[in-house]
């Protein structure tokens, strides 16, 4: 995962400087804001596995995120299970939901916009179910009991929570890099580029796609659990709402789909932009989504490879001669 150019190094350095600078910000608002952005970044990294590497553009990653959050919350609230067990169960539930949606959708050969629509439908169905049953807390949602402490995965101190979140993001990005440069990653990219050619080369494309959904689901479920542990409250609109699905795909597309840094950079950039808009125009709630839409349209038109792709063109290193060629 060596950066290709000075532009990319500068971009990554700026992001790291910002993330580090948050520790010294005078106002706690910044840290809260960045914590939110980092949780979204984990969903974005989840979307990046299927959408970025596999070319399977999901419009319903909320289905994975919400399932992770609800699985952990139900276990903790209704069954009194420890938060760490809930944490693992949330990741597992997300992965299983990914496998379920993937196995169904790919069994019938859905691709492109059809896959996007089916995932969107799954997220919506789950949202409605979650708001209808007592089991999931119905319309009033589920609230964890406040019990700060490492044993309960709850942090009173925002700085510790923030640090823990940074570690999680780093681990997920490390796993992404590992996947990208593995056999599985190469197969996934081959499926994205040309499914027929991939099949001819001995790739079981159905299996690869379902596996990608499993990994994506695990990351998505993880993000949902993180949200739950940090805010201690979920309801169907918060975790199964389409806002989650939109934020999951918009960050990677703007940052650079199928790259390691793209989802984080795109998400951070967008959130900063949205936050800035809120402060400039405090009387227009929801304006950040209008702004996202404009940025998305511009990115699709002018930055086909996202911020990472753009930065990659700035100050490229001279290609060193390949001595084995």
């Amino acid at each position: 995962m060596r950066p290709q150019s000075i532009g990319q190094i500068a971009l990554i350095a700026a992001a790291l400087a910002y993330l580090f600078g948050v520790y010294f910000a005078s106002s706690p608002v910044w840290m809260g804001f960045t914590i939110n952005a980092l949780i979204v970044a984990v969903v974005a990294l989840s979307w990046n596995i299927t959408g970025g590497f596999g070319g399977l553009s999901s419009f319903g990653h909320a289905a994975l995120y919400g399932t992770g959050a609800y699985a952990s919350a139900i276990l903790q609230v209704k069954y009194g299970v420890n938060a760490w067990v809930g944490f693992g169960a949330g990741i597992l539930a997300g992965a299983l939901m990914g496998v379920f949606i993937g196995a169904l959708a790919f069994r019938y050969g859905l691709r492109g916009s059809y896959f996007a629509l089916v995932t969107l439908a799954f997220a919506e169905v789950l949202r409605i179910c979650a708001s209808s049953f007592d089991f999931t807390g119905g319309g009033s949602g589920l609230q964890l009991t406040l019990a700060p402490g490492v044993a309960n995965l709850q942090f009173n101190d925002r700085t510790i929570a923030y640090t823990a979140l940074l570690v999680v993001v780093a681990v997920v990005m490390g796993l992404t890099a590992f996947i990208k440069y593995s056999r599985f990653g190469a197969y996934l990219i081959a499926v994205r580029e040309n499914e027929d050619a991939a099949r001819a080369l001995g790739i079981d494309t159905y299996k690869i796609k379902v596996q990608a959904m499993a990994i994506s689901g695990a990351f998505g479920g993880l993000a949902g659990v993180l949200y739950l542990q940090l805010w201690l409250f979920i309801d169907s609109n918060v975790v199964y709402g389409s806002a989650v699905s939109i934020e999951a795909l918009i960050g990677p597309i703007i940052g650079g789909a199928g790259t390691i840094w793209g989802p984080l950079l795109g998400t951070l950039g967008l959130h900063l932009l949205g936050e800035g808009a809120k402060h400039l125009l405090p009387n227009a709630p929801g304006l950040n989504f209008v702004l996202y839409a404009i940025v998305l349209i511009c990115a699709l038109r002018f930055l086909p490879n996202g911020l990472v792709g753009l930065a990659g063109k700035l100050g490229t290193f001279k290609k060193k001669e390949d001595d084995n060629a």
Partner: protein, 246 residues
């Protein structure tokens, strides 16, 4: 090595292939000829598992592989290439070949080194780090061949690997295919470029309107009246004969 028996396929009312049989002995280069729309590519897709045959069997190295999925057939050692070349555009040439190599080499470093070695064998050493999308048609055809070879396949089904190439490029790729054959591979190739078929194939089958109409050495086939008629129309063979005598 490959035995195809009575393969048939219909698309609605259209009989694309009827009762097609062919044999490919180990170590040989066998041609599959025929005018446009004769059913050659349909034959290939059925043999390689991309479409299911309505009737007939395909045996590869003595094993019945009829109806197996393409990836399982590839794992057994038979692979097809595509008439319209299909590189993975977002990857470099070496990474493209490595996708093939990953079939039997799970480690990235190993797969990449196999890819490098295969690429060099096909004269692509200088292009390995270039994006596959930057290749010319001739380069893409070679890449298609390299990727197939990297899977370790023993039998390669080539679908018009010469189409769209200029004569000097054809000469090059003919040399490459002959070299690969001498290294122990077997070929079944659909080809329109007669220069290539005459130089490469020991025997060839001719398909017309979904039926096998002739089988023999390329030299015999070009004299076969039924083959001439398939290409040039009814009565063409007789007219040619008359002109020759006149």
């Amino acid at each position: 090595m490959l035995e195809v028996r009575n393969l048939s396929k219909r698309f609605g009312g259209l009989k694309a292939v009827t009762d097609a049989s062919l044999d490919v002995p180990e170590g040989s280069i066998v041609g599959l000829l025929g005018p446009n729309g004769a059913g050659k590519t349909t034959c290939f897709t059925m043999i390689a598992g991309f479409t299911k045959a309505d009737e007939g069997t395909v045996r590869f190295q003595g094993k019945d592989i009829t109806g197996l999925a393409p990836h399982s057939i590839c794992a057994l050692g038979m692979i097809r290439t595509f008439q319209i070349v299909q590189p993975f555009a977002g990857l470099t040439v070496q990474e493209n070949i490595a996708v093939g190599a990953y079939l039997h080499h799970h480690d990235r470093r190993e797969a990449m080194s196999v890819a490098r070695e295969v690429g060099k064998r096909l004269g692509m050493g200088a292009m390995l780090d270039r994006p596959a999308s930057s290749l010319t048609i001739a380069g893409r055809k070679r890449l298609e061949l390299a990727r197939a070879l990297a899977t370790g396949a023993k039998l390669l089904l080539l679908d018009e690997v010469m189409a769209g190439l200029i004569p000097s490029e054809i000469t090059e790729i003919v040399g490459i295919i002959r070299k690969i054959r001498d290294e122990g591979h077997t070929f079944l190739m659909i080809e329109h470029v007669m220069q290539a078929v005459m130089q490469l194939a020991e025997t060839a089958y001719v398909l017309n309107q979904g039926k096998m109409i002739a089988h023999g050495t390329p030299r015999e086939l070009v004299k076969d009246p039924s083959v001439v008629e398939a290409y040039l129309g009814h009565g063409a063979a007789a007219r040619l004969q008359e002109e020759n005598h006149a």
